[in-house]
Each structure stands twice: as C-alpha cells, then as structure tokens.
C-alpha cells in the first residue's frame, strides 16, 4: 500500500469558512429499476461553495445520484432541490448545473473554442463578451492558445480541461464531476487533483465529485458521502471518515485497516468501552451513528498507526508479536505481524527511515500504538 503515506491531503490551504446555506438538498431519494434499487432512500444536504464527494465502489448508486442532480434521470420517489428550487419536472437543459462527463464528451466536430462556447451561443451575448468569457475559461484551465485545436488533436489531460472549461464558462451554481480523473495516468491524476481543488476555491462554485478512488476523495473534498449498495453509509469530513469510519465496510474501503474482534463492556453517549484479546480493555470515542448489534463490535487500527519499537524503547501502549511477512514498497515497508491471541495477524506500515525494510521474517518485535488511534465500529 505505497499510497498510504500519501494519503495526507496534497493541498490544504487556508480557505474561507463554508457558507451554511444549503445548495443541494436531497430528500429521501430512491431510484428503482423494477425490484432493484440503484439508490435507496438517500438524504443529504450539500452546502454552498462546498467540494463534496460521492465515494463508493462501482454500482453503489453514486453516478445515479449525480445524474439525477443533473436532470438526466429522475427519482422514483423523493425530491431534489438546487439553490432552494425544486428540480422536479425541470429538464437538464434548464437546470443551474453543469457536468464534466467521465468520457469528457468533447464534441468531435468542433474545435476547442467552439466546444467551450457551445453553451454560450444560446445566450446570445453582446459583442465580444462571448469571446472574452471563452478566453477567460481557457485561461482558468491553462489552455490559452489551444482554442483552434480539434478535439481529436488533444491529449487526455487536455480533453479533461476542455470539458472543465466548457462547464465553468456557463457559471453554474453547481459543477458536477463524474469520475473526471479516472482516465488519466497516476501522475497527471495527482496533478489534476491539486488543480481542481485550487480551481474550486478560486471560483467558489459548489463541486460535486463522483469517484471510486478514496485518495482522490480524501485529497480534494470538504466532505465525503461514502455509499454502498445504493445506501449512504457515512457523511463526514475526510479526516473523520478516515479516522472514525462508521462501520467495517467504510473502514475497509478507505484504505487498509486492522480489525480486531471486540466485546462491548460499557456504552454511554460519547464513549464505548470494549474488551479485546490483543489490545486489552479499550475506551474509545463512540462513532456518530453507531448502532449496537448485540454485544459484539469491531475495533480497528490503521496500519500506519502501529509503530515498530526499536531496541529497548518502550511505549505506554504496546503489543508484542512476530514478523511473518515483509513487503517492500520503496519509501515504506509493509510488515505482517502475528500477535498471540489474535485470530488474524496485524498489518503494519512503517517508513524505511529506521530500517524497517531490514527486519528479517521471524523476528520478534514490539509495536507501539496510540489508544486515540483505536476506533470502535459496528460490524
């Protein structure tokens, strides 16, 4: 898991506090195809100026929800409002939203300028206003000077920028992005993540991003909704989603996580006390929306929150075990450590600064952890 160390947000600049005004209100929206529910009773509010991500595996309903906001699909039941205006019966062409399509949908018979100006033509702007806005949009996505190129003469990254400029030039209330970076290679994708985030802060438009890439969502969003099987599992900030996942499914989807069986000993409004085999009795913050399922729960800890204790170093909280596997990933090493009493060995991600890549398989080691890093969750 080499990306784990990069999970830190690449662009965490100061930003003005978000407006509390709701921009998109989704109320009890269900979309069924016969007996199959692509989206099941989703309720969610996206605030003005927010960078919001819908994250989940394919088939979780995230694209269905995005297409319903855009007006390409309609809820079977429930309502969607954009900017306080109910969207029922309003076709896609009259909604204050614009979309960046996964395939970019660049018009092949038009050049870059004509693509960007496509939506402006209908507005019949006066004089050179149209030209000015097209150039402004092209500058925003760093495509100045490429206006006369045909869509077929552009690289994937450039096509993506054209799609972005074409939507932004309309000055929508909401920009919808349907997996916009999935077709780009890794380097370009990471660069575009930073650029998209910067652009969103510069224009201040509400962005709704659909993605299946957890790092993309963590790096760019103000808030994330994690979805599984048509249902929203958790809506929270990237940090909270990553550190306090509401259940195993969310924890698992957001990168590696060690799961340890736990028994609930005590529960009150804010905290949870559980008994585990490897970690003993632990008191943790109770995750929001925790639903007790009998006496059993799961305790989780991220692999990078377990640290190898060198030589005679001690820590207040530690577990002892034996290395059974070692995987080298360049800047980090991934150790699999068997802990007596635990049914599954723990994964540990350790940076290579201190020689974690040289620990032989079979070595007995001790691991330090911060009890803050332990998270109790529903099964």
């Amino acid at each position: 898991m080499p990306e784990q160390s990069q999970a830190a947000r690449p662009h965490q600049s100061e930003r003005p506090p978000l407006s509390e005004r709701p921009m998109i209100e989704i109320r009890n929206v269900t979309r069924s195809y016969g007996a199959f529910k692509a989206l099941d009773d989703a309720t969610l509010t996206i605030k003005e100026g927010e960078f919001f991500s819908l994250l989940g595996p394919s088939g979780c309903g995230k694209t269905t929800l995005l297409r319903m906001i855009a007006g390409f699909d309609n809820p079977t039941t429930g309502s969607i409002a954009v900017g306080g205006q109910p969207m029922e019966g309003i076709p896609a062409n009259r909604r204050p939203t614009n979309m960046v399509f996964q395939s970019y949908a660049i018009f092949p018979h038009l050049n870059v300028e004509q693509n960007v100006a496509y939506g402006l033509k209908r507005l019949r702007l006066e004089g050179t206003e149209e030209k000015r806005r097209v150039e402004e949009a092209l500058a925003q996505v760093s495509l100045t000077g490429l206006g006369k190129r045909l869509a077929t003469e552009l690289s994937g990254g450039q096509r993506q920028r054209v799609a972005l400029a074409r939507a932004l030039v309309m000055r929508p209330k909401v920009l919808l992005l349907d997996e916009p970076l999935s077709a780009l290679d890794k380097k370009l994708r990471e660069q575009m993540q930073v650029e998209l985030r910067r652009l969103q802060q510069a224009v201040g438009i509400t962005f709704v991003l659909v993605t299946h890439d957890q790092y993309e969502a963590l790096a760019m969003s103000d808030r994330i909704a994690v979805m599984f099987g048509g249902k929203i599992a958790q809506i929270a900030s990237p940090k909270e989603i990553y550190q306090r996942p509401v259940n195993r499914q969310v924890a698992d989807f957001l990168g590696g996580m060690n799961f340890v069986k736990a028994e609930i000993v005590e529960e009150d409004g804010a905290s949870l006390v559980v008994d585990t085999l490897g970690f003993g009795r632990v008191k943790t913050d109770k995750p929001k929306a925790f639903v007790r399922n009998g006496g059993a729960a799961t305790l989780g800890i991220r692999p990078e929150r377990l640290r190898v204790l060198w030589d005679n170093a001690t820590a207040k909280f530690e577990v002892a075990g034996k290395v059974v596997e070692r995987h080298y990933f360049g800047e980090i090493t991934h150790l699999i450590v068997e802990i007596p009493g635990l049914e599954k060995p723990l994964s540990v991600t350790e940076t290579n600064d201190f020689g974690a890549d040289d620990i032989p398989v079979g070595t007995s080691i001790r691991l330090a952890y911060d009890p803050e890093a332990l998270v109790a969750m529903a099964d």
């Binding site: 896609a92 399509f101 949908a105 018009f107 092949p108 038009l110 309309m170």
Partner: protein, 305 residues
C-alpha cells in the same frame, strides 16, 4: 524436421526461400484476397474495359469497325434526345435520393434512439418488402397510381376529385415515387449505422449546456450523422441514374431515362458502340456529381458550425 534433413542442401534452400516468401505479409495478403480480386477483375474490370473499348469503335451493320473514333461521344453529348434523357435521369435520381434520405432519416433516428431492445426487430421488419420481387413492387405502384387505381378511387370516394387523375402514373413523378419507396431500406441502413455511432453522452452534454431536444439534434446529432447521409444519398443516387425497369413500367413517355436509351442501343437499335458511349458518359457524369455531392455536404457541414 526429418523431411528437411533428408533433402539435399539445394532443396532445403529453395524450401526455406519458399517458406520465407509464404510468410511475408504482402504475399499472404495477396493470397488471401486473390479469389475476390480475380472475381472483381473478371466480372467488373474486364466488362468495363470492353464497354470503354466499344465506345471508340463503330457499328458497321453486323460487324464492328475497330478504328478509333470519337463520333459516338459527339452523338451522345450533342444529340438533344440523349442530352434530355441524361438531364432527366440526373434530375430523377437526385430527387429520389433527396426524398429517400428525408424520409429515411426519421425512421433511422427512431430505430437508433428509441428502438430500445427491439432495434434488430425493427431493422428486420424494414427488409420485409424486399422479400417480394422488385418487379412486383413496381407493379403494385401501378395498381396504386393507375387510372382506376387505389389512390384515384380513394380520392373519388372521398369526393376530393370528380374523375380519375391521369397525372399520377406514366410520368417522371411516378418514377420518383416508386424509386423512393424501393430504395428506402438502402438509405435507412447507412443513416442508422452513423446514428448508432453518435456517442449518446454528446447529446447529454448538449442538453447539459442548455440545448433543448431540437437544438441538440441540429447542433450535435445531425452534423455527426452526415457521413451516413452522404453514403445514403450516394447509394441511392448512383444506381437510380441507370435504372431502366421502373421508367419502363411506370414512367410512360415522359419518364423514359437514359438507361432505356442505352438498352435500346444494345437491343433493338443494335448500335453497341453508341450504347457503350452513352454508358461511359453516364458513368463519368455520375462520378462527377457524386464527388460534387460529397464536397457540397462537407462544406455545408463546415458552415453550419
């Protein structure tokens, strides 16, 4: 390997060379296309060469004088009758291709965009008229358009006309109507194919950018289906110029086309060289018009941006 080992060194060499030859890509390519290539040479290229050769010769009662002459072309291009026939043929074929495309486009559009899971069923249904002979279909138009035909009696029954109209049959309009119907399927298919290739997200993108259904059709779907329109128009125009069965059956005196004249030269008039010259002239003019059509539509497409 044993066979190769037994052979003399020289034989082994030729064999190796032959293998190398057989494995070279161009040779394999020629080998693969040779049956169709021969077929095309024997059935297409040779007959055309024969026709071209005849067009420069002279019919001398029963024999053919093989001295080179341009006399046939002079007749073909200057005799008013042939000029008129050629013009009429071109006019009819252009009208037919225009109406066929105009009528075929909505059908192809419907099947492609609203055919759902039944696209192949719709296409199959379109081919049903072709299960009967072309002659029968032309004859049935005679029944519809004739003096006592379906259309006349229908109109009389409704009291719209008092006596049967003779303007329906035995003129170039009748030829245009019949050919338009006959060639519909050939126009529907290429247009359907080009519409199928239009990426539906492009239409969605147009709607997302503010276009209603009509505007998104005119600005995205129509321009992107132009290749299908061009091929449909050409597929209809090129063969209809040379059609002679339809004008013979429903065209009457006013609907005679150039192909009827060509047929007469090869038949009753027995002047093969003149028939050949007329054929070659027609071919050249059709080629020029087809080329011009492609250029005009492309230019219109560029202007429409």
């Amino acid at each position: 390997m044993t066979a190769a080992a037994e052979g003399s060194p020289a034989r082994r060499m030729t064999r190796a060379r032959r293998n190398a030859l057989l494995q070279s890509e161009p040779v394999q390519g020629f080998a693969l296309i040779s049956p169709t290539f021969l077929y095309a040479v024997i059935l297409l290229v040779l007959p055309i060469l024969v026709v071209i050769a005849h067009s420069f010769w002279t019919q001398n009662y029963l024999t053919i004088d093989r001295t080179f002459t341009l006399e046939n072309y002079r007749i073909a291009l200057t005799e008013p009758i042939y000029r008129d026939l050629l013009w009429r043929s071109l006019y009819i074929s252009l009208m037919v291709s225009f109406f066929t495309v105009v009528l075929a486009y909505p059908i192809a559009y419907f099947i492609s965009f609203h055919g759902g899971r039944h696209k192949s069923l719709w296409l199959f249904l379109i081919t049903i008229p072709f299960w009967t002979s072309y002659l029968l279909r032309v004859m049935s138009w005679k029944v519809i358009l004739g003096y006592n035909g379906v259309l006349n009696s229908g109109l009389m029954g409704l009291g719209i006309i008092d006596e049967p109209s003779t303007a329906l049959l035995y003129n170039s309009t009748a030829v245009i109507i019949t050919l338009t119907h006959a060639w519909a399927a050939f126009a529907i298919l290429p247009i359907f194919v080009s519409l199928e290739k239009v990426d539906r997200t492009l239409v969605e993108a147009a709607k997302d950018l503010g276009d209603g259904p009509l505007r998104s059709f005119l600005r995205v779907t129509l321009p992107l289906s132009v290749p299908g329109i061009i091929s449909a128009a050409l597929i209809v125009m090129i063969p209809t110029v040379g059609d002679y069965v339809t004008p013979k059956l429903v065209g009457g005196k006013d609907g005679v086309m150039i192909a009827n004249a060509i047929q007469a030269q090869f038949g009753k008039a027995s002047n093969w060289p003149l028939g050949a010259a007329l054929s070659v002239t027609t071919m050249l003019i059709v080629t020029l018009i087809a080329g011009a059509m492609v250029l005009i539509i492309r230019a219109a497409q560029r202007l429409a941006r």
